[in-house]
Symmetry: C2
Subunit: 196 residues, 2 copies
DNA sequence: ACACATTCAATACAGTCGTATAGATATAAA
DNA sequence: TTTATATCTATACGACTGTATTGAATGTGT
């Protein structure tokens, strides 16, 4: 009963995610977004209520993908899965590694002062999701008796999250999807030292 | 023979450094910079040849300070100094810790796509300076016989640099100058495991 | 074939960006 | 006191920002 949309919503969000990932939020203008997503200004407004709405949608997609591909295996597994997770942060064979770093890290740094409550929440939820996943994996390791008993689980999980940020940051700063490989190596050694 | 300047150059750069540190480059407009630095538009142009020139000056000051307060002790010391360095990245008593993270990390993430050769170089020089400092400290540790012989020094130094980025990033994302404390703890454990 | 509903393309808008310019101002030397 | 020089304040500029509006285009249902 009306003119069909000239774009595929899902694909548009996907492309927007990639675009924001590479260029950041502020630096990417609406007119550039049109080209990279196949959307038009009107659609950005009506479908996502503006640029920031599209950004939030892209962030949610990113978080969803990360939860699916990286975090779920973590919660189900133990120490080995933690090691695999870190391996996935570098190198070309993984969907979690990128020369542009991590969209959530980039967002957190760029918008630390933006004070958009919606952004703040997406970020917080994302990192606490990762924290709990590490916590669960370590807890599993402990219950399996694979982990030393004197390890502070909360500090370990939080420290791992921070290491993840470092790897992503180094990936972006170096412009290479394996820029953070050295820290992945150190984390592997650390995990080994935690094993019984 | 002319009207005296209404600002102190050194202090202006110092304030600009703080301002860019907190707000980033793009998000901080020239008109806001005037207020926060005590400079005026004319001075920004004549004294620093524009906003980007002032930014570079601020980055150089930041790098200089970091070299002086944090990196020099590293190059002169050994494993203990590496540990002290990481301790200095979190908590209120250190000039290297901040809830705004690290100016160089923020710059590297925000401007990964800016392609300003000058910025690129300042960043590269900074991180390789830190890398060499870690390398030197570890080398000293090795020569003192305090370090296990099978440790890959290059990977260790590069991994430590990446961990530093992670701590700064977590500081900024969490908005706390001790946000990265957990990873500092893990790094301390890791350093301990390297000792003979 | 026609009316209806929705999207599209193009343009307009007010606001901000960094920079450039011009007249007023302040100091030191003549 | 006058002159020269440099800095200050204020305004102007074109380019850009994200958003809003308007008439044309493109479908479906009658």
């Amino acid at each position: 009963m009306s003119r069909p949309k000239s774009y595929d919503r899902q694909e548009a969000v996907e492309r927007a995610c990639q675009a924001f990932w590479a260029h950041g939020y502020t630096a990417l203008g609406v007119r550039a977004l049109e080209q990279m997503t196949g959307l038009n200004k009107f659609a950005i407004r009506t479908e996502f209520s503006g640029k920031e709405g599209l950004y939030l949608e892209a962030l949610r997609l990113y978080a969803e993908r990360a939860a699916q591909f990286a975090v779920e295996p973590l919660k189900a597994g133990g120490l080995d899965q933690v090691e695999e997770f870190f391996q996935g942060l570098v190198g070309g064979s993984s969907p979690m590694s990128s020369r542009f770093g991590c969209l959530m890290v980039n967002t957190g740094i760029e918008n630390a002062e933006l004070k958009s409550p919606a952004l703040e929440e997406v970020s917080t939820v994302y990192w606490s999701m990762l924290y709990r996943a590490f916590e669960a994996a370590l807890q599993t390791g402990r219950e399996d008796g694979a982990l030393k008993r004197d390890l502070d689980l909360a500090e370990a999980a939080q420290g791992l999250v921070t290491a993840v940020m470092g790897i992503h940051t180094m990936n972006r700063v170096s412009g290479r999807d394996d820029g953070g490989a050295a820290l992945v190596g150190l984390i592997r050694d650390l995990l080994a030292s935690w094993r019984t």
